[in-house]
Symmetry: C2
Subunit: 637 residues, 2 copies
């Protein structure tokens, strides 16, 4: 079902119940953009990948959150689902509320609108959100404001000595306004007098003059926005003390309600977090990052803090993209694009799990084509997960069906996030050290800046075909398809005047050294790729780590299985017919994109170190009750 | 009338005719946002203002361009108008086309949608655009691509030696595909065979195998996007040489047409520029900046290059906001907000000029309320301009009516752009040195970071009320309302342990010195405010300056009139009742906004110096015919 700010309040109790009683959840997001530029490199380490994602992608907005709850009925042996599509838009609810700026990628908006996404509904009826820090800040500000109001009503005009002299050209106007106010006060015809059409300076003069000439016990002046853009002064008759008090109470009530409403989607994320349920996503790194960054706390610079943050908020997640790239699925699934995966799982040897809507009108049928509606994609992801899980069960002796979310069979896939566009199955291991994907067959090559991909493939042609991943206009990583040729390359392609070839690992080591040197004088040209681990807040973190390791079971690396699949490529170099276009964008060396729309790189404010630790410490309180529920849930199989 | 990409091609001839036969044009833009943050300072110099605008505002998108053409009919003595609303959106027309990223401000989108702006129409039917540099680049790329196609059709499989070994897990799949292709080729039932559901690596393997096993004269394989996101291989039977040639010609024709269409709105701007007509706008600095940046060439870092660029593209512009802030209007117009201005000009002593639509359905009636539709605002601006101009004529002896765009009475207002939020009437003088607004009454004050506005007003209270303009959490500019007290401040508020007070001019001088020192080692903390004048391309520029000065008449500074109005404020400090909110945002010191949506600061690529000069040199050719037309037009009064 569609959820906007018009029905958000209504559905909350139902949603809360659905989440609590579910056996697992699936999520998906739609975004205003994906990449700020051609940033990722096919041989990025997980840490480099995270740093790039954080600096390049978090300024797009998650505009639709799909949530699908799945519930298993023991009696029927069937799963049912309920799907929610939240429209998300940070419409500022007051002048002091955050007014976020966010980035859009033209092709992404074009894609969404071509899929029927309703942007008018988004901007009109989207549900707002606040991070915990924003909410706290706003609550404090509101309290101060209300206090200030209480004080100001008792004291008035304390600094009339410092009033602005009225410029000659405005005296007539000011006198005229005073006459109008007098007229207004001397008869009861109107409830209020609107003084519109004056700029801020004139409004200030009027305000000042009124304070000097009129009795504040008989009248009240306030500023009001009259058509979103313009502000007018509004004069009303003074209220009795009792009426004034009542009005103030109503106003405070209204302000509190506004703020509660403004928490919006963030409260859904908090609910999901508190539930501790297994969360399924397809290629979900970007979704997870956006959800944390937008609704919880800005993504930390430190990669290890990021891992802590994810596992703290979502202790059990499973990425169906990662799962379907691994044994025993990888040989049977030729494309892990969600739609393709679903199609493949609909045929032999798989048995697609049928998941009916729990309630008419609150879900989907598999046959429906609503691809790229976040709720539908979440639903499809959940169905794929169940089908994959049951396949694992079918391989057991005796066969096991259904395989439920807490089955040990799922352990190798839990808390691992697939990395797109990186060679070999590379993933973020949220609860351990990342496995190092094989890079023995990869070389860092420098060459004249006139060289194109063709020159590199020629250079390496004695060793078979290669994968070229550009770094700068005069350097690239080159990966061999025939990995057994690596030593031969090092024996043959020694340094020349034209080019240089070195092992990938040596190059990475050298960069790390340079970066360590640079860090001392923080020169502006140092790359952001290797984010130095934040050293602050160590104490808080250590205590958190203890909590974290006690909740989340560390898993032994299943890297061996990834190693076997050494010749599969997540995203490979284009086929010749596609190459022309890719070549274009290479030879353009980014200038077209840069010229085009002002390629945006977003700087973050300094001084956020330790923000994550603070968030975790604060969040810890509100998610305190989770562990218990999680254990209860553990016992349902 | 609304113009989208559906009717854009059709209306071009009519539009061209309207522009050429018009007597002046009015423009207005709607944007996805205005400010990246609380950047502007009330005492910015025009150069500082430009630097901030350029670095902070140009990443928003102009999404609607309003153009209103005004034509005077000598026989009737009446003006008529025609209004166009162009929806503007840079939908990438191909994979190699620019895919701009742009910024949105939540409150701006909220505002637009509340005014009925249709974002679905924008993203679906918006008209694209290309700067001249982008267009040139794309034309070159297209030519290269077409050449590459011509070459590749003759030579095939030249590097099959470097083919990728097919991994074991894919052999069955590849064999299966070959069988399907054989089947397809051996009967005529289908026109094409779509091989869908394979990832890029598998597609590459298929492509490679097909090249090895099948005769390229009997079949053709290409990649096609099948649902915007996914790509499939499409196999077709080979064509006869003649058919192939014909198909290639059609394809080239189609590609050229696509590129022509992609120039879109930029061609309208070029038309306007070539016409050399007087262009009216209300508070038009932002409009002019966006139009140049988005449709012509990225705004130059150098302020003087910016002025050259504007006057070159639009040799005569008039800002009704500036005009109505100046003599003889300033005393009679208490708010220069467009709606207020229009209302004021509808009453005595003004005589609102009635401008009927030239054609039914192509314009507005004054009574209509379509505020913030760009075309309507442009129309209203033109009407205000005519009314202001006629008022000038009415003061002449004998009275002159109508006052037409080339009247000498308008000279004091030509090519001056009003600066919002800056104290005193501060403006950019496009064709001369900027006048320095009075700053004798302004002081740079430093103080403990705990201080708030109240502490500053207390400190200065002996000298009357003050205007406080924050710089950092521990410094601010403080302006006296009673400017005659300036010397007294310097005599009284000498340095103390707690605070320091120095003249505005001294502080600015000091900053400039520091900046000159910093420039040597380009440390990252140096502020961008004082953009150093670009020194490159001096030769080109000098030759341009000669051209420019011969076209545009330099105007003697009319600064004296601005000086007289020394006590008027463009944007003033809030009145007490409004202060709470302002104080909130001060005490927040930007953190809420920064946390909120990832406050975006956009870095520009280096190496653009001289881009403006290059643009001007190139544009010079295409606008070569302008001067003559401009002179012809001069003779119509």
């Amino acid at each position: 079902m569609e959820v906007t700010r018009l029905n958000f309040g209504e559905i909350i109790p139902e949603l809360e119940n659905d989440i609590t009683s579910s056996h697992f959840l699936a999520i998906d997001g739609e975004f205003t953009g994906l990449h700020t530029g051609q940033d990722f490199n096919a041989f990025d380490t997980p840490q480099q990948y995270y740093a790039k994602l954080r600096s390049g992608g978090m300024d797009f907005l998650l505009v639709q959150l799909g949530l699908c709850t799945f519930r298993y009925n023991k009696d029927t042996g069937q799963f049912t689902h309920k799907a929610y599509n939240f429209y998300v838009f940070p419409r500022p609810f007051s002048r002091s509320a955050p007014d976020p700026r966010f980035l859009c990628q033209s092709s992404s908006l074009d894609f969404l609108v071509s899929q029927g996404f309703d942007f008018n509904k988004l901007f009109k009826e989207g549900i707002p959100y606040l991070t915990e820090a924003e909410e706290k800040k706003l609550r404090e500000q509101l309290e101060e404001k209300q206090k200030a109001r209480a004080n100001s009503s008792s004291s008035k005009n304390e600094d009339s000595s410092a009033s602005i002299p009225i410029p000659e050209e405005h005296t007539e106007l000011i006198e005229d306004v005073c006459v109008r106010i007098n007229d207004f006060l001397s008869n009861d015809e109107q409830d209020e007098l609107i003084l519109d059409g004056y700029n801020g300076f004139v409004r200030k003069l009027i305000y000042q003059t009124v304070g000097e000439r009129f009795d504040s016990r008989s009248m009240h002046v306030e500023t009001r926005a009259i058509d979103n853009h313009n502000r007018a002064l509004v004069v009303t008759r003074a209220l009795s003390d009792e009426d004034r008090k009542k009005k103030e109470e109503e106003r405070q009530e209204q302000e509190k309600k506004e703020l509660d409403t403004a928490v919006g989607v963030s409260s859904v994320i908090r609910m999901i977090s508190q539930s501790g349920k297994l969360i399924i996503g397809h290629n979900m790194l970007l979704d997870i990052c956006h959800i944390l960054h937008q609704f919880c706390t800005p993504l930390p610079e430190s990669y290890s803090e990021f891992k802590e943050l994810v596992t703290f908020m979502f202790p059990r997640i499973l990425d169906t993209k990662y799962m379907s790239c691994m044994d025993p699925f990888k040989d049977q699934i030729s494309s892990t694009v969600l739609g393709h995966l679903h199609k493949t799982l609909s045929g032999e040897p798989f048995e697609l799990v049928n998941v009916a809507p729990a309630v008419e009108g609150r879900g989907y049928a598999s046959a429906e084509e609503k691809a790229h509606e976040a709720g539908y994609d979440a639903y499809l992801t959940g169905v794929c997960f169940l089908t994959l899980a049951n396949y694992l069960g079918s391989l057991e002796e005796p066969a096991k069906k259904p395989v439920l979310p807490n089955s040990p069979l799922l352990r190798p896939y839990i808390n691992r996030l697939h990395l797109m566009r990186v060679q070999d199955v590379t993933f973020i291991d949220l609860t351990g050290e990342d496995a190092e994907p094989p890079r023995d067959h990869v070389f860092h090559v420098t060459f004249p800046k006139e060289w194109k991909t063709y020159d590199l493939t020629q250079l390496f042609s004695p060793f078979g075909s290669v994968y070229v991943s550009w770094l700068t206009e005069a350097s690239a990583y080159v990966g061999l398809h025939r990995r057994d040729q690596a030593q031969l390359v090092l024996n043959t392609l020694t340094q020349s005047d034209t080019y240089s070839v070195e092992r990938y690992t040596e190059h990475v080591k050298r960069i790390k050294q340079t970066q360590r040197q640079c860090r001392c004088h923080r020169s502006s040209h140092s790359s952001q790729i290797y984010s130095p681990r934040a050293t602050s807040q160590q104490r808080k973190k250590r205590s958190l780590e203890v909590q974290l390791t006690s909740t989340v079971q560390p898993l032994s690396s299943s890297y061996n299985s990834a190693r076997k699949r050494s010749r599969s490529f997540g995203d490979i170099e284009p086929i010749p017919e596609e190459e022309t276009e890719a070549e274009d964008s290479k030879s353009g060396k980014g200038t077209v994109a840069a010229v085009a729309g002002g390629l945006a790189k977003v700087k973050r404010k300094k001084g956020k170190q330790g923000a994550t630790a603070m968030f975790l410490a604060a969040a810890n309180i509100s998610t305190g009750k989770r562990k218990q529920e999680f254990e209860e849930c553990d016992s349902w199989e």
